[in-house]
Symmetry: D2
Subunit: 145 residues, 4 copies
C-alpha cells in the first residue's frame, strides 16, 4: 500500500504543491522541491526579506515552515496525491544562527506505515555542512480505500 | 536575577515587540499581547487570510509562530528587554483542526533559570475550551552582567 | 466510542497493571495509581534505591518510566482494558533536580480520539509545587470492533 | 574548549561509566560502549529479561535509557570526565516493535557548544537496518574553569 520508492516525480510534486498550496508562494516563490528519492526529499528556501529577523538572521518560523513542508513533500511523493497526510507532531532543535543565504532541508523518512509516517530533517545554510536546525515530525495518514 | 513576577507591563511589552519585531505585523497586525501575569502570558492571533490553508483551516506554521511568540513574550516580560532570549527547542502536538476564528495562546513558564527558561503553551480557538495545538519550548538566556 | 469520563476505577486499573505489567514491580512495588478522574490521572513513584543516580538524585529514566506509565494508565482508564494503546512519541523537559523523596505525576489528556490519544504530565517532588520534569506523549489506539 | 574529536577512548569511557554509574549494571551488565568516533558513538544493549514487556518486546523505558546513555557517553567522550553534562530535554519517536535481540544505538552529535550539546540517536535491532526508535536530546554543560 505504501512503497519505499517515490511514486511522484519532482515535477509532479511541484505541480501539486503549486496547485494545492498556493499560499506558500505568496510574496514571491521561495520554496522549491530540489530532489525526491527513496524515502527522502530535499527542499530549498531562497533567502528573502520576509523570512528575516532583525540582524539579518532567518526566523525560526521560516525554518519550521520549511521543515514541515519538506516532510510533507517526502510523504506525499511516496503515498501519492490522493491521501492528504496531516501533521500530528513536530519537534525542533535550533542549533546555530543561519547564515544570510538560502537554506537546504534534507529529509529522510524513518517510517512510512499504513496510518503513520515519521521523518527527520536537517537544515543547512547552502554550501555549509553545519546543521542549523534539526526537526522530527509525525504525520497521520487517513484511511484509503 | 530573574523574578517570578513580570517586570514589564502589557503595554511596555507591546511597544518592545512593535519596535524590535516589526515583521510580525507585515500585511496587517494580527498578533496581540492580551495579558501578562506571574510566570504566564496570553497572546491572540486574529483570523486572517495569510494564516490559512485550503479549506479555511489555520496553518501549522501560523500556530507555531504564535506559540513561539507567546513563550518569547512571557520570558521577556520577566527578564526585561535587555537580555535577548534565543529559542533552542520547540515541540508541538497538533490535536484538532482550528475553527475559522481567532486563536488564543495561553502560556505558562515552568522554569525561569539564570541560563534556561522552559514553558508550555495551549492554543485554543476563541470561545472554545478544546486545545487545538500544545507546545513546549526551551530558551537560552545569554549571560548578563 | 471514547468517553471523557473514566470507565475503569482506580482499583480496576491497579489490578490490570499488576496482572499485565508485573515487571514494573520488580524489586518491590514503587509505582502506584493515586487517582483517576475525567481526562486525568495521578501516579506516584516511591523513593527507592533502584531509581537513584550518584548524589542521591532520581534518574531521568525513572522519571520517564513514571511519565509513560501515568499517560498509559490515564488512557486505559478511559478506553478500557481491551484495546492496548501503543506509545508513539514522548517529549521530556528536565527542569530541576528532584528531591530525595517520592515523585507525583499529574497527567492530563489533551485529546482522546478514535485512533490517537495525546496527554501531558507534570512531575513534582511530593509536597513541592515546582515541576521537576514535564512530558508530553502520543499514543496510537488500535482499531476496535 | 570543546573538540570535534573524542578525547576519551572507548576503554576510558567504559571505566568511567562503570565507576560513576554502577547502577546501570544492576542485575547484570547489559549496556556496552561499542565505538567512539568524531562526534559519534555507538552503544549496545544486550537482550535481557529485565528490559522486556509482555509478549517479549523490549520496553520503551529500556530504549529511552539506552538513548540517553548513548548521547551522554558521546558528549563525555568529547568534553572529558571533569564536566558533568545534565540532560535538559529528550524527544522520542517509537517506530516499530523491536525484535527479541540486542539493540544498537547509533548516536551523532549535531552541536557541541560551550554550554549546550545536542545529538540524535537511531536505535536498531542488531542485524537489522530498520530504525525502531529515534531520539534527539539536549544537554547542558556546566561552566568550566
Amino acid at each position: 500500500m505504501t512503497s519505499h520508492h517515490p511514486i511522484m516525480s519532482k515535477d509532479e510534486l511541484t505541480a501539486f504543491l503549486d496547485r494545492e498550496f498556493p499560499q506558500i508562494h505568496e510574496g514571491g516563490q521561495t520554496f522549491f522541491v530540489d530532489e525526491i528519492g527513496p524515502l527522502c526529499a530535499r527542499m530549498r528556501m531562497d533567502y528573502h526579506d520576509r523570512h528575516l529577523r532583525p540582524g539579518g538572521t532567518i526566523s525560526g518560523p521560516s525554518m519550521m515552515t520549511l521543515a514541515d513542508l519538506a516532510l510533507y513533500a517526502a510523504i506525499l511523493a511516496h503515498i501519492g496525491p490522493v491521501a492528504l497526510a496531516v501533521t500530528t507532531s513536530l519537534n525542533f532543535n535550533f542549533l546555530r544562527k543561519p547564515e544570510p543565504r538560502a537554506l537546504i532541508a534534507d529529509c529522510r523518512l524513518l517510517k512510512l506505515g499504513r496510518r503513520l509516517a515519521v521523518g527527520e530533517v536537517s537544515i543547512f545554510s547552502e554550501g555549509s555542512s553545519d546543521v542549523v536546525c534539526h526537526a522530527t515530525g509525525t504525520y497521520s495518514i487517513p484511511d484509503r480505500r
